[in-house]
């Protein structure tokens, strides 16, 4: 019986092991812009200009050119979902934190959720309402 097992042919399939250290190359942020006074509106282009000027202020022209995308933008609530490459997440977040004003009016960015997966932004357990 042992000899029969030894003479069995080797399996035809070969196995390959792939290790992902960081599964996602982009990070997604859900942010909201809050102004001190009411009644200030921005359209999508002005919003992106504001983000890029915040990056340029703190980190210069090199990091203002980071591939940053606004995936969705709501003008009424001034909230947006941003996408940035993973290496630039820390820089974007810190420049949003230090942004103080837009055209002389005081404002602040509130970061609601950050995740390397876009699907995770669809449900937020912090805003969950239990019956």
């Amino acid at each position: 019986m042992w000899s029969a097992l030894e003479k069995m042919p080797a399996p035809a399939t070969t196995y390959e092991r792939i290790v992902y250290k960081n599964p996602s190359e982009h990070h997604y942020m859900k942010v909201r812009l809050e102004f001190q006074d009411r009644g200030v509106g921005l359209n999508a282009a002005q919003f992106k200009q504001l983000l890029i000027s915040a990056l340029k202020d703190l980190f210069g022209e090199v990091d203002a050119a980071l591939p940053l995308d606004i995936l969705t933008y709501e003008e009424k609530t001034l909230s947006a979902i941003l996408r940035i490459c993973s290496s630039g997440l820390v820089k974007l977040w810190s420049s949003l934190t230090l942004l103080g004003s837009y055209k002389g009016k005081k404002c602040a960015f509130r970061v609601i959720q950050v995740s390397p997966f876009l699907l995770a932004l669809s449900g937020n357990s912090r805003e969950l309402v239990l019956d």
Binding site: L55, K56, D57, L58, F59, G60, E61, V62, D63
Partner: protein, 171 residues
């Protein structure tokens, strides 16, 4: 051991205009580099690079500049140098660029590299020179520098630099 580690960047100012090198001043150049870092890397870059930043050596005849910066942030300084396109002095603007020759951990390694580099440059000058009087002067400098090399291991930068200066100034 606990000490602040630095990186010394050896650069050469290359320009078409011969007046550009003569108008080099350490404070003007230092200010220009700081402004460029602030433009390229923002307030973060300007603050982090300007702590240990200094122009340590400047040679107006050969256009060699030795910059010092902290080891943690020397890459920010290195990457900002190609963005320098002009040198401004007393209202005159000269287009130029900075060529990084060597990055060393101490002034001594940069000095050793500079001596070898200057010797090689003398030989290149010898090949390219057209005038007979210049050719003789450069040949004298080359033989003098070879003698100095055989005579001693440690050479003063001012010693060799003097001959190189004279040779380059004559060109």
């Amino acid at each position: 051991m606990v000490r602040f580690k630095h990186r010394y960047l050896l650069c050469e100012v290359v320009s078409d205009d011969p007046r550009c090198r003569l108008s080099l001043e350490d404070r003007v150049l230092g200010g220009l580099i700081r402004d460029t870092i602030a433009r390229v890397h923002g307030t973060f870059g300007a603050a982090s690079c300007s702590i240990g930043f200094a122009v340590r050596y400047l040679n107006a005849y050969t256009g060699i500049v030795l910059l010092r910066c902290r080891k943690e942030f020397y890459q920010l300084v290195c990457s900002a140098l190609p963005f320098i396109t002009y040198l401004e002095n007393k209202g005159h603007r000269y287009p130029c660029f900075l060529n990084t020759l060597h990055v060393g951990g101490t002034i001594r390694t940069c000095q050793k590299f500079l001596i070898r580099y200057n010797r090689r440059q003398l030989l290149i000058l010898l090949q390219n020179c057209t005038d007979e009087a210049e050719r003789e002067a450069i040949q004298k400098s080359v033989t003098r520098s070879c003698l100095l090399e055989e005579r001693s291991d440690e050479e003063e930068l001012s010693d060799n630099g003097g001959e190189e200066e004279a040779a380059e100034a004559m060109e």
